[in-house]
């Protein structure tokens, strides 16, 4: 019994980080109707950012987080100008393809540079023990940081001028332009934030598990599942969806052979998409 509880709690901790990653995806979707298929590559970029900063500069892994977030923002802005700007307003399928193409290029380059070797960032923190089960300190800290970043985003969106302008653009881009909001700049900012979140989540994941250049795909898929659970365009929903997914993984693994977890997740993914095409906690279109 304790084992199941431990599993669930651990699942929720990791789920918060998944939720953070999904927030990046859902933000971009909510603001401009673009599904960012470079999401996985950006998560990996965050992981490698963490690795390079931590090992090359000897920084404690957690101090590498701010640079990764800032760097992610600028990468996101660049991504907007390269692949998304021309696609805004065109059928969403085109932006799907363009971001998909960029993803291929990035992963291909990553593989060429780093191969597919496993990279590991050593993080040793005292954990919390519950009977025979231990919650690694890294899991707890990562969950905490994810919550902090998510809260910061919420504050940004609801309490700052830029954030409100962003939400206006998400709501109705043409109307926002008419009232003088510089929409293009804000779209770029939105992508910047989305990628920063993905990178930040990647860095946090890097403190938990080893990773390779190819790890992004798996986490991207989890982000989609979370987004579907939480609703496209709904950042708070994304966080809750992340927790839900973590809870599901934690609750299911004690009972089911571990290899079936993936099947269950994907079945859930498709079923939820079919039953709730906008996601379970779907927001009204464009309301962030």
């Amino acid at each position: 019994m304790l084992g199941i509880l431990a599993s669930i709690i651990d699942g929720v901790l990791v789920g918060l980080v998944y939720g953070l990653a999904a927030m990046g995806l859902t933000l971009i979707w909510g603001v401009m109707d673009v599904i960012n298929l470079t999401h996985g590559a950006m998560i990996v970029a965050g992981m490698f950012g963490l690795y390079l900063l931590a090992s090359a500069l000897g920084l404690s892994p957690y101090f590498a987080l701010p640079p990764v977030l800032v760097g992610g923002f600028f990468v996101g802005v660049a991504l907007y100008w390269v692949a998304i700007h021309r696609m805004v307003g065109r059928p969403p399928l085109m932006s799907l393809l363009s971001t998909f193409a960029v993803n291929l290029v990035l992963i291909g380059l990553g593989t060429a540079v780093w191969g597919t070797a496993l990279f590991n960032v050593e993080v040793s923190l005292p954990g919390l023990s519950l009977g025979r089960y231990t919650f690694p300190g890294a899991h707890i800290l990562a969950a905490g940081l994810a919550a902090v970043i998510a809260a910061t985003l919420y504050f940004f969106l609801h309490k700052t001028r830029t954030g409100k302008a962003l939400r206006a653009v998400a709501n109705n881009r043409e109307a926002a332009e008419l009232v003088g909001i510089p929409t293009t700049r804000l779209l770029a900012i939105a992508v910047g934030c989305g990628v920063a979140l993905a990178g930040g989540a990647g860095a946090l994941i890097g403190t938990l598990f080893p990773f390779t250049v190819l790890s992004g795909d798996g986490y991207q898929l989890k982000s989609f599942i979370v987004t579907v659970l939480g609703g496209f365009g709904n950042p708070v929903g994304a966080l809750m969806g992340g927790v839900a997914l973590g809870l599901l993984e934690g609750a299911v693994t004690p009972f089911v052979p571990v290899s079936w977890t993936l099947v269950i997740e994907f079945a859930l993914f498709v079923l939820v998409l079919v039953a709730f095409p906008g996601g379970i906690f779907a927001s009204r279109r464009g309301a962030l």
Binding site: D10, L118, E122, A138, P210, S259
Partner: protein, 402 residues
């Protein structure tokens, strides 16, 4: 090494006037990219090291000629479909005379289909699974110990230390690992040990937290499993982080790589079945001894030789021996010579099964069990089993090594 140099000089003198342009082409793929690229590198280096030595010695001598060994190889990207396209190309376009295997059972099986379809001999050092050998082949030859014997030494060693051990089996859902663990389960139960958990995970799994919790819940005190490098390393680290407190940990493949030592305390005490370690000392009938091989390899690649490299080298050495015995590169004659092989090299005793139902399976070579221990204060591997071959005593429980 000195012997080889003398031989090279003599051969060069003798062969110089008879200007030998004869070549024998060997084809293979390796995984330069894709998830298997770390493990595949050792094997590839082994192949190349053998080729360079043979050619430096004047090539393979057969039928009065000296054949220079030429390699044609491609990157299979760790993908089975590519393997078949590339081996077909190697046979048809590059006119390979002989073939080496790719790395890993999952890639060797598709390659074996091509070698049989076109009738080319393939020396297998990269895939230990037995299934491809049980379908009725004529041209496959495996130089490494097959999967079903991987952990038999570990089971015997564990039984000696703790006949009441409770073992958790957690392993990757891939052909190689499943074959190993299915056979190991039978061996463990036959030895009177209890298996309290037996589960496989998808090879792409990165989060082993839930699985480790399950291991803790099962009350196991011994662990056997893993798969290839990334999952094995992660399992070791997470079992340590979550204080699973195993008294015995045997992980496949991953701990045999020097990188595993970077895990620090999480690596201590972990045992790994190995086809070969630098401390092993068989008396070779031909070719270099273990210390000679290890030293020359280290000089050439600035990296320690692992069992992938040793098995790759041995593929070449055994093929060379067979060609020399057959005194020809004619495939039928070489096949006869290979089937008759019964020799000891630095890698171990090599002999192939010749009955049609198991043709090509390795019947003489044995695994050793290596354990990560503190060697001069730094993490290093010692051979701990069988006792006749050991370089240090087995440490049990593993906490004693940390």
């Amino acid at each position: 090494m000195k012997r080889l140099c003398l031989l090279a000089a003599a051969a060069a003198l003798i062969a110089a006037p008879a200007f030998a342009e004869d070549t024998v082409t060997i084809g293979f793929t390796d995984s330069q990219t894709g998830p298997l690229n770390v493990d595949s590198l050792g094997q590839q280096r082994g192949y190349e090291f053998w080729r360079d030595q043979v050619n430096a010695g004047g090539g393979i001598k057969a039928g009065g000629k000296s054949y220079t060994v030429k390699f044609v190889s491609y990157d299979d990207q760790s993908v089975g479909g590519r393997v078949q396209q590339l081996y077909t190309r190697l046979v048809n376009q590059d006119k390979a005379d002989f073939l080496f295997s790719p790395y890993s059972s999952g890639l060797t099986a598709p390659a074996a289909v091509i070698s049989e379809q076109y009738g080319r001999m393939m020396i297998v050092s990269g895939g230990a699974e037995e299934k491809p050998f049980q379908l009725g082949n004529k041209y496959l030859f495996m130089v490494i110990t097959s999967a079903t014997h991987y952990l038999s030494g570990a089971v015997a060693a564990l039984k000696e230390k703790n006949p009441n051990a409770k073992i958790a089996f957690v392993y990757s859902d891939d052909p190689f690992s499943k074959t190993v663990m299915t056979a190991t389960r039978q061996q463990a139960e036959a030895a009177g040990l209890t298996v309290v958990m037996d589960e496989s995970y998808a090879p792409s799994t990165t989060d082993f937290g839930p699985i480790v919790n399950k291991i803790i819940s099962s009350n196991a005190d011994a662990f056997m499993g893993g798969g290839h490098y990334s999952d094995g390393a992660t399992l070791a680290r997470q079992m340590y982080d979550q204080k699973a407190n195993m008294k015995w940990v045997s992980i496949l493949v991953a701990p045999a790589d020097d990188k595993f030592g970077e895990l620090g305390p999480a690596a201590m005490g972990v045992t790994v079945p190995s086809q070969w370690e630098v401390q092993v000392s068989y008396k070779p009938q031909f070719g270099p001894t273990t210390p000679e091989f290890a030293k020359a390899f280290q000089e050439k690649f600035s990296a320690k030789a692992d069992y992938h490299a040793a098995s790759g080298y041995t593929s070449g050495a055994i093929l060379q021996h067979a060609i020399e015995q057959a005194d020809s590169i004619d495939p039928e004659k070489v096949a006869v010579a290979l089937n008759a092989t019964d020799v000891t090299t630095f890698f171990g005793h090599i002999k192939f099964a010749t009955d049609p139902a198991h043709h090509g399976l390795q019947v003489a070579h044995e695994m050793v069990l290596a354990q990560w221990q503190k060697v001069d204060g730094k993490p290093g591997r010692q051979v701990v089993w069988p006792t006749a071959a050991q370089s240090a005593p087995l440490i049990y429980p593993i906490s004693a090594s940390q």
